[in-house]
Symmetry: C2
């Protein structure tokens, strides 16, 4: 989790991840689109790979880097634990449900 945050806390790596959202890319392709020198791209990709955020598969001399789902999924699960905090509707709804009409109409918002 922390490694995921660390990997995404660099602006260039963040842009790489954003770019890879549209599909796998070769190293030079990334470098050209983001205006980065090839060595830096490789270095950033290495960090992303060690953080588990990307995966590689060779294609001739090229290396196609693609996003991995797992870290983002874990990030999402972590964030879910804060859901009640940032979604005000839930708080208001919870209060309403609990204080006023507990029995009248249980319009099925399963809390967990």
């Amino acid at each position: 989790m922390i490694e995921t945050f660390a990997a995404l806390s660099d602006p260039h790596r963040f842009r790489i991840v954003e770019l890879l959202r549209s599909g796998p890319r070769a190293v030079n392709d990334i470098g050209e689109r983001l205006r980065l020198h090839q060595p830096q791209v490789s270095k950033h990709l290495r960090v992303l790979k060690e953080a588990g955020l990307v995966d590689v598969q060779p294609r001739a001399q090229q290396r196609l880097y693609e996003l991995r789902a797992q870290p983002l999924r874990e990030l999402h699960e972590w964030l879910e634990r804060y859901h009640q905090l940032w979604d005000a509707r839930f708080e208001a709804m919870d209060e309403l449900l609990e204080e006023l009409q507990q029995e009248e109409k249980p319009h099925g918002r399963s809390k967990k």
Copy 2:
């Protein structure tokens, strides 16, 4: 967004955020629970505050720090754009919806 990642990429700050999930806390309270020296707690809280992740409100000599919703909400919204990547069901559903029954029943799953 990147500032959020940077703030959460430090282990101590991450633990502070996790602790604050249970509600506002004073500085010394945080330090005792997480076994951190007071100055470091203050410094980390400052970073979190500048990143917009926490807010302060004075209570006598104490400063109660509490989580702010907005950055987590933005993080969630950002993650949503990767939803199709890590939730395989959505890909299948998108294909079905687009290829087969575009006009039949638009049961409003807004792609954006």
